[in-house]
C-alpha cells in the first residue's frame, strides 16, 4: 500500500489561517507564531524584491507582522482572506519604505547565484554574471521585477504571487513575460545569455 504525501498549496490553508487568526485575535501567541512561520518567506520575498535591500526588507516584513497583530481585531474574515489582508499590509509597508527613500529603484538585487559545481573559473564567471544580471533585474520596473524575483528566485508559484499581489494569475504571467522580454532585449547583443 502506497502512501501519497500531499503538500497543500498555501491558498488551500485559508481555513487554517482563519482559525489561527481567530485564535491570535483572542491572544493566542502560538497561533500567530504559526502564521509568522507560514508567511515569513512570502513577506520577505516581496519586501526584498520591492526594496532591494535585505535589512530594509526584514524590517518591513517584521513591521507588517507587528501591524497585522495589532490590527487583528479589525480583521473581518467575511471581507478578505487573511493572506490577502496581510499581504496588503506588507505592500503598504514597502510603499512607505520606498516613499521615505530618494531613489525608488534598488541599485542591485541582493540575490545569490547558486552553481552546481563551482570551480575557480566558474566562480569568476558566476560573479560577472551575477553582477550584470542583478543590475539588469534591479533596473526593471517594479511591476515586472517583483513577480520575476518571487517566481524564479524565491520559488513562489504564479498563483501564490497573484494571491500576494492581489491580481489575477494571467496578469502575473504577462508581467513575467514582459520582464523576460525586457531582459532579453537588454542582453541580446552582449552574449550574456
Amino acid at each position: 500500500m502506497h502512501t501519497i504525501a500531499v503538500t497543500r498549496p498555501h491558498w488551500q490553508t485559508e481555513s487554517d489561517d482563519l482559525a489561527l487568526a481567530a485564535a491570535a485575535r483572542d491572544g493566542d501567541r502560538s497561533a500567530y507564531a504559526v502564521l509568522i512561520a507560514r508567511y515569513r518567506g512570502m513577506a520577505f520575498a516581496y519586501a526584498l524584491s520591492a526594496l532591494g535591500n535585505r535589512e530594509e526588507a526584514e524590517d518591513a516584513a517584521q513591521d507588517a507582522f507587528v501591524q497585522a497583530y495589532s490590527a487583528m481585531p479589525r480583521f473581518d474574515p467575511d471581507r478578505a482572506e487573511w493572506a490577502a489582508w496581510f499581504m496588503r499590509i506588507v505592500r503598504n509597508r514597502c510603499r512607505d519604505g520606498l516613499r521615505r527613500r530618494k531613489t525608488r529603484r534598488p541599485a542591485e538585487m541582493p540575490l545569490e547565484i547558486v552553481d552546481e559545481a563551482p570551480g575557480p573559473e566558474a566562480v569568476t564567471m558566476a560573479d560577472d554574471r551575477r553582477r550584470v544580471l542583478m543590475q539588469a533585474v534591479a533596473a526593471l520596473p517594479e511591476a515586472q521585477r517583483v513577480p520575476l524575483i518571487m517566481h524564479y528566485a524565491a520559488g513562489r508559484t504564479r498563483v501564490e504571487i497573484a494571491h500576494a499581489l492581489g491580481v489575477p494569475e494571467s496578469t502575473i504571467i504577462g508581467r513575467l513575460a514582459g520582464g523576460l522580454k525586457t531582459l532579453r532585449r537588454r542582453f541580446g547583443g552582449e552574449g550574456l545569455i
Binding site: 512561520a37 517584521q62 507582522f65 544580471l133 513575467l176
Partner: protein, 266 residues
C-alpha cells in the same frame, strides 16, 4: 523574419513565463525546428529563465525573525480607548442644545406675502380654483424677495354702496393721525378706530384688506374675523384664513379653509 516568426516570438516569452511545454506535434514546435532564429530566441529565453532560477533569495533566520517580531509587538504601547461622544456629559449637553435650537427654528412660521391676492369681494374667491390658491400661497412657493417688498401704495378704504334707505353718502373714514397700523396692539387700535368711525359704513373686510396690504396680518385677521362674524360668506372666510395663515395662526387658517372648501361659508 516573416509573419509566422513574429507570431512565434510574441508567444515565446509568455510560454516560457507560464511554463507551458511545447508539444512536439504542435505547429510551434515544427516552426522552431525549421527556423533557426526563432529556435535561438527560444533557447535564449529558456537560458535567461534558468539563470534567474539559479539565483536564490537570502532567507531570514526563522528564530531571529520571529523573536524580532515579538520584541516589536511587546514594545507597542497599550491601546488607547477612545471615549465615545455620547458618554461625555459635555458633548451630550451640546448635542441636546443643538437639537433644541433646530426644533425651535423649525417651528418658527415663515411670513407669506399675500398682497398679490385679490382684495375685491367679487374676485377674491374663485371657488373652482380654491384648492390651487391655497397651495399657491404656501411659504415654500413664494420668492423671498416678496416677503420684504412693501405694497406699492396704501389703499383707500372702500365704502359700501349706499343702501336704498340711506339718505346721504358716508364719508370715507380716515385713520387717526399718529396711529401706525403696523404697530403693536392691533386689536385695541382697531377698536378705537372702529369707535371713532362709529356710525360709518366702512366694512370690516375693507379694514382687513387695508391691514393686509400694510403687512399687519394679525390686524388683518382680526378685521376679517369681525367681518366674518357679521356676514358669513366664503369670500370673507377665505380672506380670514389667508390673513390668519400669514400671521402664523395656522390652526385658525386651516379651520377657515376647511369651512370654505365645505362651501358653507364657515
Amino acid at each position: 523574419m516573416n509573419l509566422v516568426c513574429t507570431c512565434v516570438r510574441r508567444r515565446l516569452a509568455a510560454l516560457t513565463a507560464s511554463g507551458t511545454e511545447i508539444g512536439p506535434a504542435s505547429w510551434l514546435a515544427r516552426h522552431l525546428a525549421a527556423c533557426p532564429d526563432c529556435s535561438l530566441e527560444s533557447r535564449a529565453l529558456a537560458s535567461l529563465a534558468g539563470d534567474l532560477a539559479s539565483a536564490r533569495l537570502p532567507e531570514p533566520d526563522e528564530q531571529t525573525f520571529a523573536a524580532a517580531v515579538w520584541r516589536k509587538v511587546d514594545a507597542l504601547p497599550a491601546p488607547i480607548r477612545r471615549a465615545v461622544w455620547w458618554q461625555s456629559p459635555g458633548l451630550l449637553a451640546a448635542a441636546a442644545g443643538a437639537c433644541a435650537v433646530a426644533l425651535w427654528m423649525a417651528r418658527e412660521p415663515a411670513r407669506v406675502d399675500i398682497t398679490e391676492q385679490p382684495h375685491s369681494p367679487g374676485s377674491a374667491v374663485r371657488a373652482a380654483g380654491l384648492a390651487g390658491t391655497v397651495a399657491s400661497i404656501s411659504p415654500a412657493s413664494r420668492p423671498k424677495a416678496d416677503l420684504v417688498t412693501p405694497p406699492p401704495a396704501p389703499p383707500v378704504p372702500r365704502v359700501k354702496k349706499p343702501t336704498a334707505a340711506g339718505s346721504r353718502t358716508p364719508a370715507i373714514p380716515k385713520l387717526r393721525p399718529g396711529l401706525n397700523p403696523a404697530s403693536a396692539r392691533p386689536r385695541r387700535m382697531l377698536a378705537s378706530a372702529a369707535s371713532s368711525t362709529a356710525g360709518s359704513t366702512v366694512a370690516w373686510s375693507d379694514w382687513g384688506s387695508y391691514y393686509e396690504q400694510k403687512g399687519d396680518y394679525r390686524s388683518a385677521a382680526y378685521a376679517y374675523g369681525m367681518a366674518h362674524s357679521e356676514k358669513r360668506d366664503p369670500t370673507t372666510a377665505f380672506a380670514y384664513g389667508r390673513a390668519s395663515e400669514a400671521s402664523g395662526d395656522l390652526a385658525s387658517a386651516m379651520d377657515r379653509y376647511a369651512a370654505v372648501l365645505e362651501q358653507d361659508g364657515g
